[in-house]
């Protein structure tokens, strides 16, 4: 599992493996590799229920380069690409 360089504890969801369970600390949509603007990406993530404190678990991974991922966010399952999941900082 790759650690976020900013902190020894914080992990970007986009780097996590299948089976990872954690809690969302915050969203940081800068420098994610997504084609969306940071503002738009953050807005969409919030609309899909990615808010601080939510419990996340990576349930499934895609075939090619383990991408996209299916993430359980509290009580719902969202499929998204790892590049967008980079904006979600978890612990």
């Amino acid at each position: 599992m790759t650690r976020d360089p900013n902190s020894s504890q914080d992990i970007r969801l986009g780097h996590a493996d299948r089976g990872f369970v954690g809690k969302i600390l915050r969203l940081d949509a800068l420098q994610t590799g997504s084609s969306l603007s940071p503002h738009e990406l953050e807005q969409r993530l919030v609309e899909m229920g990615f808010v601080e404190g939510a419990r996340v678990e990576i349930l499934h991974e895609g075939t090619i380069r383990r991408d996209p991922i299916a993430v359980r966010v509290d009580t719902i399952t969202i499929a998204l690409r790892r590049s967008e999941a980079m904006a979600v900082i978890v612990e």
Binding site: Q43, V51, G62, T63, I76, T77, E84
Partner: protein
């Protein structure tokens, strides 16, 4: 109290059973049209409350928020706000929520509440929620939200009785329409606050079962497995296309026999002459040869709607995202492209779920390459005439296998075109995001699916009854006039307009193995691909007498060589043989440019591919 009917609007997030509720309320009395000026589907219907009041229902496009990030979502917002031109503001809004999964809908409810329209929260699928052990304190939830709440089971008879009762109660109260609230787009902070508020309300009023339901997870462990998942997806598609051939057969034979019997009756009753020929050869055999394909269209739509209802479509998008991404496509393009197997027109319209313009354009460009149901008549006719109906390895129908191959060729070429477009048209463009809710699996709602299939079958028959009938009359006219001069030798059609057009096009089409009869059939085939079959029937039956009309395939098997037949099959994979698809592309992209691009690239592909097929088949000595 007014006598005018109540205007009701259904609003809700995707996957909340909103469409089932709409189907349950309105039955089959639905009207599907477009909002003026845009191409978003407008689904409306009506019902009468127990106390005899008329209600008109509008099923608004599904949305997670009022922000409006796609044309569909903007319509939902503008209608609810009363901003949409030509559409009255709804008197009452039903906000539909999936009772098993309130999280995202409650945030939408909070957004909607700020607008101030009279609203009832409908907790749909309450039966599933109860079965899973989810307890909802309705009084508490209603009090927290400040909204009336009704539970419903849209898929069960009587499941919406409460809802109807509440509608009557609403009508009985004096109706004062509050001024439409001012609305400003929520900021990220607003959204977060709303989500936290929604989560707080849920925590206060919903008790989740101690042991969460794991069925969806257990199914997904297999269905979304990196390897097994793809195998399952391929199997589903394979079974679907085998079913189209095997199951539809008896019904098709029945229809086909029915139409030839009807033609015979007309032949026996009417005196020999123009009217007899017109009715038997032009109308009955022409329209009959198209309607025969109704069973196959029903089966295809049955599969698509079943998979959608089961919750599999989103999984398919998940599985295909990276694979399609390699070809420059978005995972969300999978559903529009899969719909294009039925017809490119709804497929192209469904690309509205892709909000990135370039991804959407790519999907629109390649949607017509997906094997639509209108190609089935042409494929079936040629396959049954030229491919022996034998079984391989005891269980694979060879004809089905060739059909599968044609579908595969369509898909492969679509992916190739997309990759090429990505490389040449938008090389400096980063891929768009993929974010999709994977809903819990649900047992498909048969009544809702039946209504969906019925609506589509009706559309197909309507098309057969109007466009295709008028084309059949045109081609019969072209093939019958001018009549042969007295004492002329050979069949009368050799002197008709059809022959003139066919002969004029023949030099262009000879390198790909087409004779003038095919050239004649291709022209009306521009109106709708399947018309080409009926046109071939007309051309050959008028030429060869009435026996030929009963078995176009047998005639083709005698008159065409195998290279010609293969060349025509390949032509139909690629050729832009559908004027309505081109019209929709123009409408959806807002410019004639993309329509012309589609037409030219498809025509070029078709010609080159048919040329190669014909010459290769000849070089191999096939006949």
């Amino acid at each position: 109290m007014t006598t005018a009917s109540l205007r009701l609007a259904l609003v809700g997030a995707p996957n909340t059973g909103k469409t089932s509720l709409f189907n349950r309320l309105t039955g089959s009395s639905q009207k599907v049209a477009n909002y003026p000026g845009v191409t978003v589907e407008r689904k409306s219907g009506g019902f009468v409350t127990p106390q005899g009041r008329n209600v008109t229902v509008l099923d608004l496009p599904g949305t997670y928020s009022l922000r409006g990030r796609s044309p569909d979502e903007e319509i939902t917002r503008d209608i609810v706000l009363g901003r949409f031109k030509g559409e009255a503001v709804p008197d009452l809004v039903f906000c539909v929520a999936d009772a098993t999964n309130l999280r995202l809908t409650l945030r939408l409810v909070l957004e909607l509440k700020r607008i101030g329209r009279p609203m009832i929260l409908v907790l749909n699928m309450i039966d599933i929620a109860r079965r899973r052990g989810v307890t909802i304190d309705l009084d508490r939830l209603s009090q927290e939200l400040g909204l009336p709440i009704v539970t419903s089971v849209a898929v069960r008879k009587g499941g919406v009785d409460d809802l109807l009762k509440r509608t009557d109660e609403f009508l009985a109260r004096s109706r004062e329409t509050p001024a439409t609230g001012q609305w400003t787009a929520p900021t990220i902070a607003d959204l977060k606050a709303a989500q936290r508020e929604a989560d707080r309300i849920i925590a206060a009023s919903v008790t989740l079962p101690a042991k969460p339901d794991t069925l969806t997870n257990r199914i997904d462990a297999v269905v979304l497995h990196p390897v097994a998942g793809l195998v399952i997806l391929a199997l589903i598609l394979f079974v679907m296309f085998q079913a189209v051939f095997t199951w539809a057969q008896p019904a098709m034979e029945l229809l086909s026999d029915g139409f030839s019997a009807l033609g015979q009756v007309v032949h026996d009753v009417l005196p020999e002459g123009l009217l007899q020929s017109f009715l038997q050869n032009g109308v009955i055999s022409g329209v009959g040869s198209v309607i025969v394909f109704l069973p196959q269209i029903i089966i295809i739509f049955l599969f698509i709607l079943l998979l959608e209802d089961f919750g599999y479509m989103a999984r398919a998008a998940f599985l295909m995202d990276r694979i399609m991404g390699g070809a420059g496509l978005h995972g969300r393009a999978f559903i529009p492209l899969l719909s294009s197997f039925a017809c490119a027109i709804p497929g192209i319209m469904a690309t509205r779920v892709i909000d990135n313009r370039r991804d959407r354009l790519t999907t629109i460009l390649i949607a017509p390459l997906m094997t639509c149901s209108a190609r089935i008549p042409v494929y079936t006719l040629i396959i049954s005439a030229f491919v022996p109906a034998k079984m391989l390895w005891g269980w694979v129908n060879l004809q089905g296998l060739v059909m599968f191959g044609l579908y595969a060729a369509g898909i492969t070429s679509a992916l190739t075109v997309s990759a090429v477009a990505k490389f040449f048209l938008w090389r400096d463009h980063a891929p768009a995001p993929f974010m999709l809710e994977l809903p819990d699996y649900k047992i498909p709602r048969l009544r809702s699916i039946a209504i969906g299939v019925f609506t589509r079958a009706k559309m197909f028959l309507y098309r057969a009854g109007t466009t295709i009938l008028s084309m059949m009359v045109l081609i019969w006219f072209l093939a019958s006039f001018p009549t042969a001069p007295a004492g002329a030798e050979g069949p009368a059609i050799n002197y008709s307009f059809a022959a003139m057009i066919g002969h004029a096009l023949e030099p262009l089409l000879r390198p790909i193995g087409f004779n003038w009869q095919i050239a004649v059939a291709l022209i009306p085939g521009m109106a709708a691909r399947e018309v080409a079959v009926a046109a071939l029937g007309t051309v050959y039956s008028i030429e060869g007498g009435k026996e030929a009309a009963e078995a176009i395939g047998q005639v083709l098997a005698q008159k065409w060589t195998l290279p010609t037949a293969l060349s025509l099959l390949v032509w139909y994979i690629f050729a832009p043989q559908c004027a309505s698809t081109l019209a929709v592309i123009r409408r959806e992209t807002g410019s004639a440019k993309w329509m012309v691009v589609t037409f030219v690239y498809m025509l070029a592909l078709a010609y080159v591919a048919s040329f190669l097929t014909f010459n290769l088949a000849q070089a191999l000595g096939l006949h």
